[in-house]
């Protein structure tokens, strides 16, 4: 065991280079036992590369990481025995039954024969698949498949679980059942890292780590990121025509961003920027129609887009 930390997943200065390209750049991360951590970032941000290092599939170029107490570089076999992985594609065999899929994965994860029956029962009951043991997987609806995939991923009772966009395209009710299961596992002490770029999945995580171009940009609970992530106040502005209102506002000093949202604008006002009254006056002076203007709680997507563009502006300026 590694003595550096009690964290279930820990990274210090974790770096991965492919030739001259730095995919993961001195990442610092610590996930407590039983925590559900969201890992979000644009495509190519380094999410998959980081998870592949955590899974012991590729060695870090620099820095260190431990998963369930094992070093991912030097103890990768032990790491792999202590993790479960579930991808958005589920990797199930459609022409096998539910039970056959579970047995197959039990073999892959080398669940001892003496424990297999008990583990299969556990996975079936957790996934709510009792009575469907002999159904062909291809005939199951998305939500069932997803719960079966989760059942397969935890057959060997791993203390750490990696989920890659787990609920893409699953219907809302099934998605909620799935997250209920995830929180139940977390309650039993399983540590879960969810990689996604869908903000509604991020809302279910205890904390969210936002990464861009291999670096950690922000970390906090959904509430912390929503309340403090933007660095300004978000106003919802009703005006017509919308396009002209947006162009006008983008030229007003103190307005950081104006984006069309449905039939309204979401306007981000920086410190010392104009208030609702001043914005209304600006629009009226240009002959535009103005409706109600009021502050709104930013969505995680608002925060994400803002932090990523700020990061990119900073880098371009540097």
């Amino acid at each position: 065991m590694n003595a550096t930390t009690d964290a279930a997943v820990f990274a210090h200065g974790l770096t991965k280079r492919f030739g001259s390209f730095v995919a993961v750049d001195h990442l610092e991360l610590s996930i407590a036992r039983g925590e559900v951590m969201g890992f979000i970032g644009p495509n190519g941000a380094g999410k998959s590369t980081t998870i592949r290092m955590f899974c012991g599939l590729i060695p870090p170029s620099d820095g260190q990481a431990t998963v369930a107490g094992f070093d991912v570089g030097t103890q990768s076999q032990a790491v792999r025995e202590h993790i479960g992985y579930m991808s958005q594609k589920f990797s199930l065999y459609g022409d096998l039954t539910v039970l056959e899929n579970l047995r197959f994965f039990g073999g892959i994860y080398r669940v001892p024969q003496s424990k297999l029956a008990e583990r299969l029962t556990f996975a079936l009951s957790m996934a709510g698949l009792q009575g469907r043991e002999h159904a062909l997987v291809a005939t199951l609806a998305g939500g069932w498949k997803q719960r079966l995939a989760l059942g397969c991923a935890i057959l060997h009772r791993p203390p750490v679980l990696f989920l890659d966009e787990p609920t893409s395209g699953v219907e809302p009710q099934a998605r909620r059942q799935f997250w209920d299961l995830i929180h139940q596992l977390a309650g039993e002490g399983v540590t879960i890292l969810v990689s996604t770029h869908y903000m509604d999945e991020a809302e279910y995580c205890n904390r969210i780590a936002l990464i861009d171009r291999g670096r950690l940009v922000a970390i906090g609970s959904p509430g912390e990121l929503r309340n403090h992530g933007l660095g300004g106040v978000l106003l919802e502005v009703t005006a017509q025509p919308l396009g002209a209102a947006r162009s006008a506002l983008l030229n007003v000093p103190g307005i950081v961003e104006a984006a069309v949202f449905g039939d309204k604008l979401h306007v981000l006002v920086g410190p010392g920027g104009p208030d609702a009254q001043a914005i209304s006056a600006q629009l009226l002076a240009r002959g535009l129609q103005v409706g109600p203007i009021h502050a709104v709680t930013p969505s995680l997507e608002d925060v994400f887009v803002r932090l990523v563009s700020r990061e990119q502006e900073t880098r371009e300026a540097a």
Binding site: G142, G243, A259, F261
Partner: protein, 313 residues
């Protein structure tokens, strides 16, 4: 509002389709005004894509009628295709052709003459932020750029109705925002947009939504009115004991639904005025003094689950 209001761009009546014994679409009807962004929302398998394909004239309905821009899609399919454009989930880009060559190919397909093509593609490339990339191979573009190129190709013949099937699946939030900015600009030029999506946050951006469930449209209205129609009130309770709170609230009188989020619990109650003090009393009895109760704005997913309830489990 838009210069040309109250002009019906899409009219669908009693549309049905089955595949063997499976009834994929049943009696679907709706109409869309010019300049709307109309969302077809629902889980995989709810009938969105089948409906889209019938609207696009690539799949023959068993029954029902579709008019796009006044043209009957079922009877006059080829004529209708000049008025519409369809971007399926996997848009057919040629990966070994450049951006410019892909656009040229689609322009030829629609018989656009050279002069028109040059001007139109310049406008569209600029709107999509793809100027300067014309000679890049489509296969070397990021997911977001591919989607934008697909959109440029789909718009080359200046269609009046655009049909998009899950256009931003797999596209990250920053690119998704760019994509939406393009859609809003199109809308201002009078293009009508129909979009199928399984993502509820995306649905919020549409002017109106049709909630699909098992091949039928169950509800159809603006996002704001759908939220107002949600039975009960949504409360957000923040606490350091979210799991314990969830278990405590399940089955309490007046509690219609409890959902454990990352750092709070969402509780849907029948009557907020009556239930907030009751919940507060429960919290006080447990001495969970850090808990805070506030009304929360429901998302479209909350509405979907509340309206369709356990039947979608």
């Amino acid at each position: 509002m838009n210069a040309v209001a109250n002009e019906t761009a899409v009219q669908v009546q009693a549309l049905s389709k089955h595949f063997g014994a499976v009834s994929a679409v049943r009696g679907v009807q709706f109409s869309v005004e010019r300049g709307e962004i109309f969302g077809l929302v629902g889980p995989d398998g709810a009938g969105k894509t089948t409906t889209m394909r019938m609207l696009a004239g690539v799949l023959q309905p068993d029954a029902g009628s579709i008019r796009i821009d006044g043209v009957d899609v079922v009877q006059e399919t080829e004529a209708a295709k000049l008025h519409l454009s369809y971007m399926p989930q996997r848009f057919g880009l040629y990966e070994d052709l450049t951006i410019a060559e892909n656009i040229f190919f689609y322009a030829e397909l629609f018989g656009i003459d050279r002069r028109q093509r040059v001007q139109r593609s310049k406008e569209l490339l600029s709107a999509a932020g793809l100027i300067g990339f014309e000679r890049r191979l489509a296969g070397q573009l990021s997911g977001g750029m591919k989607q934008k190129l697909g959109l440029v190709c789909a718009l080359i013949h200046t269609p009046r109705v655009l049909l998009l099937d899950e256009p931003t699946t797999g596209v990250d939030p920053v690119s998704r925002r760019d994509f939406w900015a393009i859609l809003y600009n199109l809308r201002e030029t009078g293009v009508t947009i129909l979009m199928a999506t399984a993502y509820m946050d995306e649905a919020e951006r549409c002017s109106r939504l049709a909630l699909f469930h098992e091949g039928e449209i169950r509800y159809c209205d603006t996002p704001a009115r759908l939220k107002a129609a949600m039975p009960g009130t949504l409360l957000a309770v923040t606490t350091s004991q979210p799991r314990g709170l969830r278990d405590l609230l399940k089955g309490q009188p007046g509690v219609l639904g409890v959902l454990l989020m990352g750092d709070r619990v969402h509780v849907r109650v029948d009557d907020a005025v009556r239930r907030i003090p009751e919940i507060q009393a429960l919290l006080n009895a447990r001495q969970w003094s850090d808990a805070q109760i506030a009304e929360a704005e429901p998302g479209i997913e909350d509405v979907f689950v509340a309206l369709l309830g356990e039947q979608s489990a």
